[in-house]
Symmetry: none
Subunit: 184 residues, 4 copies
């Protein structure tokens, strides 16, 4: 693939994430093309169906997330890192969901998405384990439960905007629930 084609592909993916985040997955491919500064034909050359476009935009999004997560993981106090990561994932999730939902509703995520999701999962697992090793986070939950709960928090924000202090308290409830040790 030529250098300019690579650049265009990248621009289309960036534009797609923006547009889908702002307008949802029903946004027109033409709008994505306009935002990327290319013709619609170019979008379709790189991503022959809208599904392909959504899927690859999702992959790009997940890869960004994984990279940010790795940065978070590397420095802080493990429990604090977990908190930061949860917040970050919650913040990005509405965009992620806008892209993932139509895929799920139509034959499920593809291979590329699953692979990218797995890359995210690996980092989250690492952060979680290190937090659990401090003894300040209960050990009977794993990455799946984290993902599940974070997803929930995230999606809840998609539903009517929520007052910041409400969200903060809700997250506290969640984090309190995560702390040691499960009481009956």
């Amino acid at each position: 693939m030529r250098a300019d084609a690579v650049a265009n592909r990248r621009r289309v993916l960036v534009a797609a994430q923006e547009v889908f985040a702002e307008q949802g997955a029903e946004a027109s491919t033409e709008e994505v093309a306009r935002r990327a500064g290319v013709g619609t034909g170019t979008v379709f050359r790189h991503f022959p169906t809208k599904r392909d476009l959504l899927e690859h935009a999702l992959v790009a999004h997940l890869d960004d997330l994984a990279e940010a997560a790795r940065a978070t993981a590397s420095g802080e106090d493990p429990v604090e890192a977990l908190r930061t990561l949860v917040a970050d994932m919650a913040g990005r999730a509405p965009t992620k969901l806008a892209m993932a939902e139509p895929l799920l509703a139509d034959d499920g995520l593809g291979e590329a998405s699953h692979a990218a999701a797995e890359r995210v999962r690996v980092v989250v697992a690492e952060v979680l384990e290190r937090a659990q090793e401090t003894g300040r986070v209960r050990r009977d939950v794993g990455v799946d439960e984290i993902h599940f709960l974070v997803r929930g928090i995230a999606q809840a924000q998609a539903f009517l905007p929520v007052a910041p202090e409400v969200r903060r308290r809700a997250v506290e409830v969640l984090l309190d629930g995560l702390r040691c040790a499960p009481r009956s």
Copy 2:
């Protein structure tokens, strides 16, 4: 309004809830009309835009929820009632969201929806308060937090199917978080 008009209006609303629950809000108005056994013109006479149709279907849905909540509230042990209510809301949430999301994405919910949501809120508040009065539920959360968290749980299930035991543990974390008393 004539009696048959009233009946038609009701049938359209019931059909709309069914159709939107099954196919999402992108379902065509014609499908709603077909399901209701009326012509599309009749649907548009009662609800001049698709937005109106979605909004009133949502109101009907919320009113059903409020009624069910009132029934739940009246009998059981208050903490058990809270648990039941959470489960019920979680079960209904996907349908609710299917209708609410496009409204939120386009100028927000209207007055009628807010009023209906408020009626739900009143019942949930009552159940929560009685649960808190038992001392077995932390007092620093209110209806908003409950709604927020429940919504999250509900929506999280819409996102990739989740293994039952994962969900169970996640709900336990949430409920643990809700119990007295916030630590640290």
Copy 3:
């Protein structure tokens, strides 16, 4: 179906035959709509896919042909009627083929087309039999052979326009071949 809908349906079919005869089956549905004086949506309401439009235009065309054939059959000398019918079919065939070819290339003719073609076949069989009863037309050919040869003559005209006297002589060869009795 309402009276105006019936009228529109008829106008669309007439327009479709004209347009497909002039421009071939690749003519756009929008052109058909324009010619019929309706919106594209109306065309698609009556004929949900282009295939449907082609198929029903073909049926209308075949029904016209059958009716004309019946008129031809009723009066003349049987052998002359056969000659007239062959000429008429040859003249109409290019239009017929324009519509039939894409259908054949994509899953074959549908039931309605087959039924209409059968109605034509019945009339042609009748004319042929009466011509054979005069003893002036060989008896070892049937409707299928007639159709096959006429189709050939017809399609040959679609390929480069042919000088009239060339066509006349070619048809004479064909008719000579049809006359009694097959030699060696």
Copy 4:
């Protein structure tokens, strides 16, 4: 023109005949390029419009046909050679028509096609004349009538598949018609 350019031109023409024969003239230029193992740009360098590509593919096809006809003409009994030639032309005609039809529908064949067609015509005329000299083929038909009839037979087979015996009898009728002498 450089040697590799000449080679590419030839490969494109061969690929074009294959592709148009298989998929019809609506096949994309990109498919032709892929089959030829070159880029689309190369196809368009040699044949600036699709019309040019079709026209030159047709010329190549007709030149192949003329060569084959010359071989046929050289050996056999003249009447048998005519029969063989008719069969060969009928077999190739669908491919020829696939390329010729869109040209005819859009401004007619160009000069190069006419020249190539004339080269074919010369060979056919020769075969016909020698057959007529045997006295076993009527003298009032010329190459045009042969072409016309053969084209018809060929195209008729493109239209709904025909039972073999129907075709055989139809061809007999045609050949009977060609034999001496025209009866009234």
